[in-house]
């Protein structure tokens, strides 16, 4: 038994497990040929990507932003407007979307990151609603709630999108891992733990807060652009406070401040209710209830989320193995 537990101390074990999981995931579309399930997996994929990005801002840096859907929208409208009005390939729009996301993210960061905790949350909440109101009113440009149609797809099939997402998820996972384990990650944690103390050790908190926020906005925009290309349709309804809430739920439920947390969160928050739909047929209308209830339970009882729960479990197992 101890030999098996010993294996978990070696890094190479985790690498093998990771590669095995990736291979399994890549093979999923071959087995789940149902169009509905494929669509579900792609939807979960988008939630995971956005939650992974959001995790940096809320989990590591400690800033509870409720404006993620704004940057999702920035990327989405970049994709929609560039392809529809300029007739350009969606791939070009995809490359431009993180740039617009970064630019607007940086601009938003400048005033809003001066706020702390509760006021930051409320401020970004108000900002999201403001942007939503503007989007609805500028219907000549944005198509408002009725939306715009005919946005070209990056790749034709759902399966292809799924694989594109896997690539993006792996990239973001590794990018986040490198960032978090480097000096940047330690600076983010310092900001989260005591933002007033950090500058006394030479840390330029303002610069790192803004850069991190802008970076996260860039990738959120990228995800948004991909999402809109997948849907081939855009509407201001995609970018409401409700979407911010879903992203928040994925990150918090999965476990903020951990690398894998948002992935678990996305699977649970978006995936579980859908899968349970088959099991609890009539209960589908209670899906938002389910999501809300999990979020409340986690935030009050299990602040570490699912990942935090696993860590505790692992701790218990280790202690039990030592006996």
């Amino acid at each position: 038994m101890t030999r098996i537990l010993d294996l978990f101390n070696k890094k190479i074990t985790y690498l093998f497990i990771f590669i095995a999981i990736v291979i399994l995931v890549l093979m999923l579309p071959l087995y789940f040929t149902s169009a509905y399930l494929l669509r579900l997996m792609v939807t979960i994929g988008f939630s995971i990507i956005t939650a992974l990005c959001f995790n940096l801002v809320i989990g590591y840096m400690g800033y509870p932003s409720l404006s993620q859907s704004v940057f999702y929208g920035v990327g989405g409208y970049t994709m929609a407007l560039i392809t529809l009005r300029l007739g350009v390939s969606p791939w070009i729009a995809l490359i431009l979307s993180p740039l617009t996301g970064f630019a607007i993210g940086y601009l938003v960061a400048i005033p809003f990151l001066k706020l702390r905790s509760m006021f930051f949350a409320i401020g970004t909440l108000a900002f999201t609603m403001l942007v939503n109101a503007i989007l609805i009113n500028l219907h000549t440009i944005t198509g408002a709630e009725a939306g715009l149609r005919g946005i070209p797809r990056l790749v034709k099939s759902d399966t292809a999108f799924f694989y594109l997402q896997i690539v993006l998820i792996i990239l973001i996972l590794f990018g986040t891992k490198i960032l978090v384990e480097s000096y940047w990650g330690k600076i983010l944690v310092a900001i989260r733990e005591d933002e007033d103390l950090a500058p006394h050790f030479g840390i330029n908190t303002t610069k790192y807060k803004r850069l991190t926020f802008a970076l996260v906005s860039a990738f959120t925009g990228l995800a948004g652009a991909m999402f809109i290309s997948y849907q081939t349709y855009i509407s201001s309804n995609y970018f409401t406070i409700g979407s911010s809430f879903t992203i928040l739920a994925c990150t918090v439920v999965g476990g903020g401040g951990s690398l894998l947390g948002p992935i678990l969160g996305g699977l649970v928050v978006v995936g579980a209710p859908e899968l349970l739909r088959e099991v609890l047929k009539g209960m589908y209308i209670w899906r938002p209830c389910f999501v809300g209830a999990i979020l409340v339970a986690v935030i009050l009882l299990f602040p570490g989320g699912i990942y935090g729960g696993f860590q505790k479990l692992a701790g218990y197992l280790r202690k039990w193995g030592e006996k």
Partner: protein
């Protein structure tokens, strides 16, 4: 013509006042923003509707019963979910969002997503000069003024009101002199929730009751109390007037959709420049 707009603005202000008084009360005492305010605003309207439709109760008695139900609901919310979150308002915010989602989902599943028409017994329309105002709207104005006066009297002259003010100033000091902070919190939260539900019950006959009706009410409520100072009753009154008039005038003269947007702009400007609001102090007292 402008007099008509002013009348409309007064009604809007009155509704906003009922909502924001409850919100600022909760924030002043419990130090948390209550994100279930909008959901309870909606729930109040729907319970009221059911009491009228299915139990055949008249408007006013049904209102009292529904308000009491909201009071009870608020107590449950406080006791089970919000107690102790005063130290981390972000937890309270996330919790509030989750609960709000649950409540709105429940409303949608029980009463349906289509807007419900609710009849008001005060349908007589008064004519003043060239303008018209329905009796229902006059009642709203009277009710909101009464609530403001009652609240003021309650806080200033009753023993419990003093306890509320004490807790909002310094929770620890209040508990040291024997105030039961938990009870004060629960009653305040219930009171605020009840006010929200009353707001919803009076608004429903005007705009029809739909599950999402609380969202814009709640966010306007936050805009008002942030402007006026979170925790300040006088600030809520000033803020309600300010935003009530701005909202009505912008909606009438500029464009329908931008009324709310202007409120958000105000709110963001205030949050960025002086988060404690026009009348708020750093101690966030009532």
């Amino acid at each position: 013509m402008i007099f008509q707009v002013i009348l409309n603005a007064l009604v809007q202000t009155a509704i906003y006042l009922i909502i924001s008084l409850g919100l600022t009360l909760i924030f002043g005492v419990m130090k948390i923003p209550n994100l279930t305010h909008g959901a309870m605003y909606a729930l109040g309207a729907f319970i009221h509707y059911s009491l009228i439709e299915f139990l055949g109760l008249p408007f006013v008695p049904a209102l009292f019963i529904a308000a009491l139900a909201a009071f009870g609901g608020g107590s449950v919310l406080e006791r089970v979910f919000f107690r102790g979150t005063g130290d981390s308002p972000v937890v309270a915010i996330i919790c509030g969002i989750g609960l709000s989602t649950i409540l709105i989902n429940v409303i949608t599943n029980i009463w349906g997503a289509w807007p419900l028409r609710i009849q008001t017994p005060f349908s007589y329309v008064l004519k003043i000069g060239g303008s018209a105002i329905s009796l229902h709207n006059v009642v709203i104005i009277i009710v909101s003024i009464s609530i403001a006066i009652l609240l003021y009297a309650f806080l200033k002259w009753t023993k419990f009101g003093c306890a509320v003010r004490g807790v909002s100033q310094d929770q620890e000091a209040a508990s040291l002199i024997g105030v039961n902070v938990n009870t004060v919190g629960m009653i305040t939260f219930s009171l605020g929730t009840m006010l929200a539900s009353i707001g919803g019950m009076f608004t429903a006959p005007i705009t029809a009751a739909s599950p999402g009706m609380g969202a814009s009410a709640e966010i306007m409520g936050f805009a008002i109390i942030i402007l006026g100072g979170m925790g300040s009753l006088g600030g809520a009154i000033v803020g309600a007037f300010l935003l009530g008039f701005v909202d009505t005038f912008v909606t009438t003269y500029i464009s329908g959709g931008y009324g709310g947007a202007v409120a958000f702009v105000f709110m963001i400007i205030v949050i960025l420049l002086k988060p404690s609001g026009l009348f708020g102090k750093k101690g966030r007292q009532i």
